[in-house]
């Protein structure tokens, strides 16, 4: 049932109807984004249209297979520069070993939003904190400009402001180590993301991200998707401290060999 809702929602325009104030309000009169949210799509597998396919581990059979999905990229086209298009193909070929998610690395923005795990918004009057279940990733979004980022980081350097019902977050200072998905879509450290979070009903947040990176793309492009409130009474983030699940992949070759 939820899946059906998701598919319908995906095909809808991402802006709420004009004049409609679908947002709950906080005590200080701002749209209320507080809550636990989750994307319900396959963008983490591939932000573009994709058919079902086999997974990397034959032994996992159907449980390890890649589910099909319609893309979240406007027009389904990512405008790579020629060299970058080639790099994307390489990434795709190596995706089951090279995706930084395999190593439990922080996911970057916007990927954190549509990983198949929930995240929680804690909205204060001066800043907004977003905590993601995956890898304990977290961002603080000050509503006053904190100045330039001192150095690149995995989750970037955010500053937010309100435009009507929309929280607009400008993200810079992202490093070049994260991917957009498991299909090898990537970016450089010149990445600039502008995110827009707009409540379209009490339990749906419309999410848009405009992606700009002159080192990798010929023009800015956009993704969009609904995010659904986890309405379970007991909904809460749990720990997905995945470091220990990645240690064999990262350090396995440096283990002491069993003595002969």
């Amino acid at each position: 049932m939820i899946a059906t809702v998701a598919l319908v929602a995906l095909s809808l325009p991402v802006r709420p109807a004009a004049g409609q104030d679908a947002a709950r309000r906080t005590a200080d009169g701002k749209p209320d984004l507080n809550g636990i949210w989750q994307a319900l799509n396959t963008a983490n597998w591939d932000i573009q249209d994709h058919s079902a396919g086999p997974g990397p581990v034959a032994a996992l059979g159907a449980t390890g297979a890649v589910p099909p999905g319609q893309g979240v990229v406007e027009g389904d086209e990512i405008p790579y520069l020629p060299a970058a298009a080639k790099k994307k193909q390489e990434n795709f070929a190596n995706r089951f070993t090279a995706d930084p998610e395999i190593k439990c690395y922080l996911p970057g923005v916007p990927r954190a939003t549509y990983l198949p795990q929930p995240f929680q918004v804690i909205q204060g009057a001066k800043s907004i904190l977003i905590a993601y279940q995956y890898a304990g990733a977290v961002r603080t979004i000050p509503l006053e400009d904190p100045g330039p980022s001192p150095a690149p980081s995995w989750m970037g350097w955010s500053v937010g402001h309100w435009e009507g019902n929309t929280l607009v977050v400008d993200v810079t200072g992202l490093n070049d180590q994260t991917w957009f998905d498991r299909a090898g879509n990537f970016h450089s450290d010149a990445l600039h993301v502008v995110e827009r979070y707009t409540p379209s009903s009490p339990d749906i947040l419309m999410y848009e991200a405009t992606i700009e990176d002159p080192k990798v793309f010929t023009r800015p492009w956009k993704i969009s998707m609904p995010l659904y409130r986890r309405v379970e009474k007991n909904a809460q983030l749990l720990e997905f401290k995945c470091v220990e699940f990645s240690e064999e992949v990262i350090y396995g070759h440096l283990r002491k060999k069993a003595s002969k």
């Binding site: 330039p148 001192p150 150095a151 690149p152």
Partner: protein, 147 residues
């Protein structure tokens, strides 16, 4: 008076014993105190990453051969609080590193003391005391690390 002396003695002990672990990892396990070295090189990259920053530098030997080295330093977060940024140690900067080589024998080292070629200490040398509003106006400690 005796009680007072006892307290002072306790204080001295406290400053050592009460201290939490001082680093993120076991340095003696990563670097070899028996392999001191001195590198004179040119910064190629400064990786401002946690838990430890790494200065990459090119070191030219007498016969003109250039070798790349990686030098481990502290967490960058405190440097940022002091106002340093990724632009504070640009590629091309000539520096001298006194440190210790890694146990695996590769071109990695820990940088015990980092100076510009004129002897000024990196980071300390250019940080105006009091530049961090939270930080007391400290006179740089005398010969730190050698006490």
């Amino acid at each position: 008076m005796r009680a007072r002396l006892g307290v002072v003695a306790a204080i001295a002990g406290l400053l050592l014993a009460g201290a939490p672990a001082w680093a993120h990892h076991a340095f003696a396990a990563e670097f070899d105190a028996n392999k001191p070295l001195k590198l004179h090189g040119v910064v190629t990259k400064w990786e401002l990453i946690n838990p430890h920053s790494w200065i990459n530098l090119d070191v030219k030997s007498a016969d003109g051969k250039v070798t790349g080295w990686m030098v481990e330093g502290g967490s960058p977060n405190a440097l940022f609080r002091l106002g340093f940024t990724k632009d504070s140690l640009p590629p091309g900067t000539e520096i001298i590193v006194e440190g210790f080589q890694s146990k695996d024998g590769t071109n990695r080292a820990v940088g015990a003391n980092l100076t510009f070629t004129d002897g000024r200490k990196l980071f300390l040398g250019s940080s105006a005391p009091g530049s961090n509003p939270d930080r007391p106006s400290l006179t740089p400690p005398k010969d730190p690390g050698k006490n």
